[in-house]
């Protein structure tokens, strides 16, 4: 067949950009052409994989607050003519009552600022955890689907840990004693939110668990945050310098035991 569909048409098909008459012609062709059908499927898979891979870099939280501040300063600035040009000077007659009121206002203002900052931090932490949950779950699913051997295959913590030397800008400990029926299968170097992370692969019975260890970001994760994503259980935790996300379809109790062992290893608790 010499009239296969062009790349442009296949792309426009998966992007939903064909006009009704073009779509009818393309569909009629696909019904008789396995080669173009395979091409269309490949384009569609590529599009969804690109969408997942491309959503990679999250803006730092301080950038958002900096921009919000900039917007308010830039537009909220009163026009030149309305700005007071009088120099500040001491107010005559400001007695004890005045100073007391000013002091009380200062205390209230300080309280409001602290409250607002806590609220912002808490919102940022929730948003960051939700982002980590999605990315970690996607990577866990992709690892299961790929069914490829880990980059370092070993159940020996003294082999897996040194493999990361020079590959990631931090170090971590692996637990000596694991919960029953739990085994280290190996590890991969990966990236989470654009930052290098150690992906530790465990089996818990017949279930697989992925643990992502990474450097702590500016926003601290709430300890032992738990979430569900696409049927997987996700647990997040932080230590002094690291944060981690565990993903698995095993029950939360057994996943928590593995998380506790890992957390204990970071703090020197051998359990």
């Amino acid at each position: 067949m010499s009239d296969h569909l062009s790349h442009e048409l296949l792309s426009a098909l998966v992007d939903g950009e064909l006009a009704a008459d073009q779509l009818a012609r393309v569909n009629a062709h696909l019904a008789d052409c396995p080669s173009c059908t395979s091409g269309a499927l490949a384009q569609s898979l590529l599009k969804s994989a690109t969408a997942r891979t491309g959503q990679r870099y999250a803006p730092p939280t301080e950038l958002q607050s900096r921009l919000a501040r900039m917007v308010r300063q830039e537009v909220g600035r009163p026009p030149e003519s309305t700005r007071s040009r009088r120099p500040l000077r001491a107010m005559p007659g400001l007695g004890f009552t005045g100073w007391a009121t000013a002091f009380a206002l200062l205390i209230i203002l300080g309280g409001v600022v602290v409250l607002e900052r806590n609220l912002q931090q808490s919102t940022a932490a929730t948003t960051e955890f939700a982002g980590l949950v999605t990315e970690a779950s996607d990577q866990h699913i992709a690892t299961l689907a790929a069914n490829l051997p880990p980059q370092v295959i070993s159940s020996d913590r003294h082999t897996v840990k040194p493999w990361f030397q020079g590959r990631i800008p931090f170090s971590f400990n692996l637990p000596e004693n694991l919960p029953s029926d739990t085994m280290l299968e190996g590890a991969n170097l990966t990236y989470v939110h654009g930052h290098p992370a150690a992906l530790l692969l465990y089996s818990i019975g017949k279930h697989r668990a992925s643990i992502f260890l990474m450097e702590k970001s500016s926003t601290e994760l709430a300890d032992d945050s738990v979430a569900e994503h696409a049927g997987f259980h996700v647990i997040g935790f932080s230590t002094a310098d690291l944060q981690a996300i565990a993903v698995s379809d095993v029950d939360t109790g057994r996943l928590s035991q593995l998380v506790s062992a890992l957390k204990g290893a970071q703090t020197g608790d051998k359990r």
Binding site: L41, L45, L46, P60
Partner: protein, 200 residues
């Protein structure tokens, strides 16, 4: 109620602030992601987004309410990138290559008939599950092809919207997207062939 001129100005200004904030800040994650992909590092991406916000804010008075704000601000981001140091360097490197390739639009197939993917969907699925390979393939795309993939696949924009941002005809958008996907597939296939070669 009639406002005095200075009061009217302050009132409009306050209205503009809240309007701009409400429209622009929700787009920050998308703008930053695209900026990072284009500039390839966090510092340049932050500078690019900040400059985009500043330009958009100062030109917000010229923005027509009800029109496409997302396309408008992405266009500012793109133009800011193109005139930045990294943007100029990147575009200079690929200009010639891209000009040569641009002639391939208007529905022409870019590869011979036999090049149409005949691999099984399962094989494709396994390849595509490898995020690292796709990430590397995307990083190898020239900026003109990378930006259309980012806008189309990640930002889920329609061709018409992308055409406005890039200031090119829809046919060119269509052609660039097809070329970008063909290039991604070529890189993925060659990296897989290389892996198979090592394993053999």
């Amino acid at each position: 109620m009639t406002l005095l001129p200075w009061k009217r100005s302050a009132h409009q200004s306050a209205h503009q602030t809240s309007g701009f904030e409400g429209l622009a800040l929700p787009l920050l994650p998308s703008l930053y992601n695209v900026a990072f992909w284009l500039s390839r590092n966090a510092t340049d991406a932050e500078d690019l987004v900040q400059e985009t916000f500043l330009k958009a804010l100062r030109g917000y008075a010229s923005f027509e309410p009800g029109s496409n704000f997302r396309a408008w601000i992405f266009r500012i981001l793109r133009n800011t990138y193109l005139t930045s140091r990294t943007g100029l360097a990147a575009m200079r490197t690929v200009a010639l290559e891209d000009e040569l390739g641009e002639g391939a639009e208007s529905g022409m197939t870019l590869h011979p008939e036999g090049a149409i993917d005949r691999r099984t969907p399962e094989m494709n699925m396994i390849e595509l599950a490898n995020r690292a390979a796709l990430q590397t393939a995307m990083e190898k795309l020239p900026p003109l092809l990378l930006e259309v993939i980012l806008l189309c696949d990640i930002e889920e924009m329609k061709y018409r919207e992308i055409a406005v941002i890039l200031d090119v005809p829809i046919g060119t958008v269509m052609s660039r997207i097809a070329r970008a996907r063909a290039a991604l597939r070529d890189v993925l296939q060659s990296s897989n062939a290389l892996t198979r070669g090592f394993r053999a």
